[in-house]
Symmetry: C2
Subunit: 266 residues, 2 copies
Amino acid sequence: MAESQSQSQDKASGGKLYVVGIGPGSVEQLTLKAREVILNADYVLGNSTYLDQMESLLGTQEVIRSFMGKEVERARKAVELAKNANVVMISGGDTNVYGMAGIVLEVAEHENLDVDIEILPGVTAVLAGASLLGAPVVTDFAVISLSDLLTPWEVIEKRLNMAADADFVIGLYNPKSRKRKSNFARAIEIIRKYKAGSVPVGLVKNAMRGEEEDQIVTTLGEVMEYEDWVDMSTAILIGNGESRIWKSPKKDIIITPRGYHKKYDY
Amino acid sequence: MAESQSQSQDKASGGKLYVVGIGPGSVEQLTLKAREVILNADYVLGNSTYLDQMESLLGTQEVIRSFMGKEVERARKAVELAKNANVVMISGGDTNVYGMAGIVLEVAEHENLDVDIEILPGVTAVLAGASLLGAPVVTDFAVISLSDLLTPWEVIEKRLNMAADADFVIGLYNPKSRKRKSNFARAIEIIRKYKAGSVPVGLVKNAMRGEEEDQIVTTLGEVMEYEDWVDMSTAILIGNGESRIWKSPKKDIIITPRGYHKKYDY
């Protein structure tokens, strides 16, 4: 009831562009605000995979499906529609982290778009994965995509070297694709120059996305045994020098201590 | 209706420990799952500030308030209660990112706790801040806390140097406190050795936390003019070499291009 009321109010105001992070890919991991904004939209645009994940929220809105690789076209359409309607552009994970916020704002800037734009954050894949693994990230971390489609490989390599040397916890996105099979192996080789073989590594597939979720807890020394298991949808977390694996009665859990043991006794 | 049903089901099963990331600090930025788990808990433990932010969800649960600096004590209490009840430990932002997941699991490990533990992710402050600023993070990024309470300053300094040298987008947490007034200035000085003065910087206070939200868009060359404005609750985002500021008709927006302009024409 409350939903349909706020819907008519929002529609009356018109002309607003939302970029909405839907999190890992299930409705229960949406923020309350993201859910409300999707329900109240005139138009919902997105990659077909993400729209399917939000299917239970789509009814009265006009849904415009797009595909991987069509990001610029999709952003242009969203900006055009937002001049006269309430438009939601859906982004997987968080809107900022390799998400749609950038390209939508680049297109809006190009047109000097004069409508309200609201970017809504979501749970990014590497942090959904971290939650499943336990607490691998607790302290300083670096996030690196291994896709060299939009970033030169030399830049990626420099970032891998420096993040490993400074002992950041490291999250890797896009470890593999059909065209780039060896990037994962090359990244691990670089990180091993700085981090010990005993450092915990977590591999998570389809984190919090529903039935196909799967995870492996291993170490930097042994991770290449799972190379074939890793695919484009795998989030990878590599601990720092203090991270350890707790073989709990339920499952293997990665813990990176924050440093409380230096201050407290427990 | 659905809520009270699932509540009685969950309570019957008993003995489960949840660590729940509540996001930036308003109910609308909670995930649907986090909200459900809080509503169905027997006990909710947390820092008093975060419990106040969730007040509208607290009714039937037993609420145990704690304070900053009492994290270990609070974690011990949660682990003890979880042996026989449904317990939620609340964490600000995401449970992993400088959150409570680490210390709770450390205490559980110490006791070799044999109950189900579920860690629920949330929107972390630096990504809530990024959304307000536009799209500063879109590509590889590093997150560094300037608090040297639990991490030696030399380690922080090395991370600042390497993250800046590799041109990561950089998110800074805990820039200042009463005891550590100069860490922010020292961090900016280091980053300036590698990044140009024209690189955009966003400062966000109380991002998505309600009425006290505030933000400044400036550059690395000029950010020290706002030094007095920065406090412990300010999230700081520093762009990479391609980031720029769009002076949109509505407000100043930071955009870090993902690299689509290299592939597409728009």
